[in-house]
């Protein structure tokens, strides 16, 4: 705390305008003294926050956990530049990680915005859905269900919904309702993993609802004579349905066996699917 830049204190308490903060971060990148000063003072500001610690609503925990379950983490190896610019990034994270807005061919969420008093974003999508799927639940768990559903719907990107059997709006709605209901169940479980080719997959299941869904995002297209095939595994792999990606997100309703399966795997199979996997899994997740 000697020769540090005079802006350092104002920067750490967040008192610089965004332009000033950017200038200071440029300076930080080449000033070790300030970098250290800022790191030390961030410990102090973190302590300051303890002075106003407050319990978040209980439902927020479920909502956060549901949300991260379908969020792919940044990978260091694919982003070699990140390490160098890390300090700046800590403070310059994108304004929001919330996902793509609802695409124009989907129902609008405006009404929900007005009625809930919330701002556009994850909650809007969730509220919209629950307008059509009244859940018979107490207020507290209903709120929790809403948050969780909103988070998942938002995180997986509502816009690119793909429908397996027929591409109709009704089907899309039914699928979303199904997901909303599963997410609202008190015993909902979500398990996520990544495909070896980079896509992400999440199993959402509830025994009480008797529903297990698999949601895959950013799957590469396959040659016309190939399909993705899901397998439930509790010993020998059992076929759990074939699918082809039809948008950025693909939802597959899994057979009841998935409710008790120990894991789920996905392989690439010849069109029509196989009774036994013929290739190595490109995705597995423990349930």
């Amino acid at each position: 705390m000697n020769d540090a830049h005079p802006q350092a204190d104002a920067y750490v308490v967040g008192a610089l305008s965004s332009d000033e903060a950017q200038d200071f971060e440029a300076h930080l990148a080449e000033c070790l003294n300030c970098t250290k000063e800022v790191a030390d003072m961030r410990d102090v500001t973190a302590r300051l926050s303890e002075a106003v610690a407050a319990d978040p609503p209980i439902a927020l925990r479920a909502s956060v956990l549901a949300s991260i379950a379908v969020t792919v983490q940044d990978r260091l190896e694919s982003e070699p530049k990140q390490a160098q610019t890390r300090l700046a990034e800590v403070t310059e994270l994108p304004a929001t990680q919330t996902p793509p807005t609802i695409s124009t061919d989907q129902p609008e969420g405006d009404r929900a915005n007005h009625s809930s008093g919330r701002h556009a974003g994850p909650a809007a999508a969730g509220d919209e859905q629950t307008n059509v799927v009244p859940l018979q639940r107490s207020r507290a768990s209903r709120v929790s269900a809403l948050l969780a559903a909103a988070a998942v719907l938002a995180a997986i990107g509502f816009g690119g919904w793909a429908i397996q059997s027929r591409n109709s709006a009704d089907q899309a709605l039914a699928q979303t309702q199904q997901l909303t209901q599963v997410l609202g169940a008190s015993d909902v479980q979500t398990s996520s993993g990544t495909f070896s080719d980079g896509g992400a997959g999440t199993v959402v299941r509830s025994r009480s609802q008797g529903t297990a869904l698999f949601i895959a995002s950013n799957l590469p297209d396959l040659p016309a004579d190939k399909v993705y095939e899901a397998w439930t595994v509790s010993g020998q792999p059992v076929p759990a349905g074939t699918f082809t990606p039809e948008g950025s997100n693909t939802t597959v309703r899994l057979p009841d066996a998935a409710l008790d399966a120990k894991s789920l795997a996905v392989t690439i199979e010849p069109g029509g699917g196989s009774q036994q996997p013929t290739t190595e899994p490109i995705f597995t997740v423990n349930l």
Partner: protein
């Protein structure tokens, strides 16, 4: 504006006697906590969702608290807190313990997001109005939320109380309410340089008092 009777959130707290005395182990506790958080974050970086739940449980009161302090609106604070944790999840693989503690890292994300939100669009106007109202009748942070079994904030509040009033006000407006130093200068009707000096002096004192200086 300077004629307002302005009351920071921690003024509304019961006297220190209401808090359990646990001060002597504070530093040790925070070191242990830091080590635990580093370990949790390492697992989170590997995609461990259970570890992330533990990380959330250990940190969410502080994160929600500072976000609520800046935004003064529970619904918005919930949204922003959610965004903070999604960010933390995504960027956990990039966390480097040699560059700071997990709580400093997370707090930086939380404070920045809250400030971005409050400064975006016309909401800052609404906030000014709200601030005006709350200055008359302070309800910034629900006291019952703060006075729970934990007392991690006690020492910090003591340190804040010990600051000269002008410094404390500057920190309150800048950090706890997310105002830019220009806004603080306007609000207090003092030159910008004065605000900078007050913040600087306050941070210096706090750093010494909180025993975190290295």
């Amino acid at each position: 504006m300077t004629t307002l009777v302005w009351t920071p959130p921690w003024f509304a707290l019961p006297s220190p006697a209401a808090f359990t005395v646990r001060g002597t182990v504070d530093t040790m506790r925070s070191q242990t906590q830091t080590a635990e958080l580093v370990e949790l974050l390492a697992r989170v970086a590997g995609g461990d969702q259970t570890a992330f739940a533990g990380f959330y449980d250990a940190t969410s009161r502080t994160v929600f608290g500072i976000v609520l302090s800046v935004l003064r609106d529970r619904a918005q604070a919930e949204e922003v807190t959610q965004e903070v944790y999604v960010d933390a999840w995504k960027s956990a693989p990039r966390f480097n313990p040699s560059q700071g503690s997990p709580s400093a890292w997370l707090n930086t994300i939380a404070h920045r997001k809250a400030v971005d939100r409050v400064r975006s669009s016309e909401r800052s106007i609404q906030r000014d109005q709200r601030h005006f109202d709350s200055a008359v009748e302070p309800v910034a942070t629900d006291t019952s939320d703060i006075v729970v079994a934990h007392d991690e904030g006690r020492r910090v509040r003591d340190a804040l109380q010990k600051l000269p009033e002008r410094q404390r006000t500057a920190v309150q407006l800048a950090y706890f309410e997310g105002r830019s130093h220009r806004e603080v200068a306007e609000f207090l009707e003092v030159p910008l340089g004065t605000v900078k000096t007050r913040i600087r002096d306050a941070m210096k004192r706090l750093r010494t008092q909180l025993g975190e200086a290295s």
